[in-house]
């Protein structure tokens, strides 16, 4: 780590590994007048808070998954996002501070991805909020990753792609004026109805580590990766898009029945894969879903929940219903997702 000159050790557009988070927040603040950044506490807020009496949505997590979560702060989605160090959950004092700021008198929903660190830090944050404020906090823990076996003896499934769809849909429910219980119920419904699976063609490089988290030979890929550069469930030979799509879609469909309901499908890039490849993948995924008799009502193709510069993608399928589709279509104005306003 060179600390005296601004020369990075790796092929990244950064100043120093230690300043990536602060520097990127400075960029967010400079680029988006619709957002307010609390640099000391590393929290991104809407510049204009929502109306009093509406439930507020707070999320957060390690940095390195952009646009998640800061890119989803705005009308129709989150009220604030707490940013942790790269791949590291934010700390409870951030959650406490953000909870106090965003509460509009109707309570705050914490949206937490199921990682030990995130769960514990949000838990302490909620405990502090309960002890220090009168704010009602509800929590939803997203755990949609079918690559990991669901078990009560382990840390369980990771929270990945469904988080994006959940923040959009639940954001709309809160914007409509539903109460905290109802908003939390929608959040639980979305979490229970969404499944994801990811593949990595390359590792990512954590700036402070300075080299790729794992080495992947030229002819292999990792199936069942999350969004933190951790190795996947298994290493398999590199394959074409159609075969990769099959390896992602099959475990999703094996885990839940998606027929007989409208679905929302996300083909998500992990940060280092260009859009053209995501479209190639989406074509294959759409074919497989169609062949399985699944109706895709809405879709999203792009980089929404990433793992720094990792090359690869993930597929998320959400079993929706009329209400969820309506909430999905509701106006949203964030830097990462926008329509209707």
């Amino acid at each position: 780590m060179k600390v005296n000159q601004e020369v990075p050790d790796m092929k990244k557009l950064i100043n120093f590994p230690e300043t990536v988070l602060a520097d990127s927040l400075a960029g967010v603040a400079a680029a988006h007048p619709g957002l307010r950044v609390d640099h000391a506490n590393r929290i991104i807020y809407r510049a204009t808070p929502k109306a009093a009496g509406k439930v507020a949505l707070l999320s957060g997590g390690g940095t390195g998954h952009e646009p998640l979560h800061g890119g989803f702060v705005g009308e129709g989605m989150l009220d604030a996002a707490c940013a942790g160090a790269i791949f590291t959950s934010p700390t409870p004092d951030q959650m406490l501070e953000a909870t106090k700021v965003v509460d509009r008198g109707a309570g705050v929903l914490h949206i937490v991805k199921n990682y030990t660190g995130d769960v514990m830090n949000f838990e302490i944050g909620a405990e502090l909020a309960a002890a220090e404020t009168g704010i009602t906090v509800a929590v939803v823990v997203v755990n949609d990753d079918v690559a990991v076996e669901d078990s009560s003896f382990t840390a369980g499934r990771r929270g990945v792609g469904t988080t994006v769809l959940l923040e959009k849909i639940v954001g709309a429910a809160a914007e409509e004026g539903r109460d905290l219980e109802a908003v939390a119920a929608v959040a639980r419904q979305v979490n229970e109805s969404g499944r994801s699976m990811g593949v990595a063609l390359t590792s990512c490089t954590v700036p402070s580590a300075g080299k790729p988290t794992f080495e992947l030979p030229e002819d292999e890929m990792e199936i069942g990766v999350g969004i933190h550069g951790e190795p996947g469930r298994r290493r398999v030979p590199l394959a074409g898009a159609a075969e990769v799509a099959r390896q992602l879609v099959e475990p999703i469909l094996a885990d839940m029945d998606f027929t007989g309901a409208p679905t929302i499908v996300m083909l998500n890039g992990l940060g280092g894969t260009p859009l053209i490849e995501l479209y190639v993948m989406y074509a294959e995924v759409a074919k497989l879903l169609d062949a399985a008799g699944i109706t895709v009502a809405r879709s999203l193709v792009g980089n929404y929940i990433t793992a720094l510069d990792m090359a690869g993608c993930s597929v998320t399928v959400l079993r929706a219903d009329e209400d969820l589709i309506r909430l999905w279509d509701a106006p949203v104005s964030t830097t990462g997702m926008r329509w209707g306003i």
Partner: protein
């Protein structure tokens, strides 16, 4: 030199020495975390313990509880991730258990450490064999307690704990992870030392080095 008690200053040295060790071993810890986690355990511990020592230097603690509550709170608010709340709770509980004393004897430190372990379990729900820092803390404290039963010398107890910690750390290699990020790897988590287990072993190494020879 009598080692029947450990003073606040020595405990401060312990934390400082722990800071030095995780900083020296930052690459090693991150390397371990790269294999079965997300490559940040080294930087998490360095950032956290760096903040702890900085805070102690700015306002030195007068009592054991002041020292460890401060350290715990600093870890909780500066690390994030899994290690922040776990190490943070560990130190917080040590502080509350030790209370406003200016030194601890061997049974006193043993009790405080055990309370710390209780905090880790309360937060993380880890059990023996889950391949976490628990698998170092638990045997290390058992060895510490056993040593304290037969001798009042803290250095002896620390050595025993460190020896057990190293064994516990190395034993995590063969385990299949059931908690923390490594659990996502299933079978592939086998064959790698758990990063949190490794940093916890450094905690006992720091204690040994602080107390000096038996």
């Amino acid at each position: 030199m009598s080692n029947d008690t450990i003073t606040v200053d020595q405990l401060t040295d312990w934390l400082t020495r722990f800071r030095d060790l995780v900083t020296e071993q930052v690459s090693y810890l991150t390397e371990l975390d790269s294999a079965i986690g997300d490559a940040d355990h080294g930087s998490n511990m360095t950032r956290g313990m760096g903040a702890v020592v900085e805070k102690i230097h700015a306002s030195p603690a007068g009592t054991v509880d002041e020292l460890f509550k401060g350290a715990g709170m600093t870890l909780v608010t500066s690390v994030g991730g899994a290690s922040g709340p776990l190490y943070g709770t560990f130190f917080l509980r040590i502080g509350t258990t030790a209370g406003p004393r200016t030194s601890l004897d061997a049974p006193g430190l043993a009790a405080a450490l055990r309370a710390g372990l209780g905090g880790v379990v309360a937060r993380g729900k880890a059990e023996a064999g889950d391949k976490t820092m628990f698998d170092v803390l638990s045997p290390a404290l058992a060895a510490f307690d056993a040593a304290v039963d037969v001798s009042s010398d803290l250095s002896t107890a620390a050595h025993a704990a460190y020896f057990a910690a190293q064994t516990g750390r190395d034993a995590t290699r063969a385990l299949l992870a059931r908690k923390g990020r490594a659990s996502y790897l299933g079978e592939r988590s086998i064959g790698h030392i758990d990063p949190g287990a490794a940093s916890t072993a450094l905690l006992f190494q720091a204690l040994v080095e602080t107390l000096g020879e038996e």
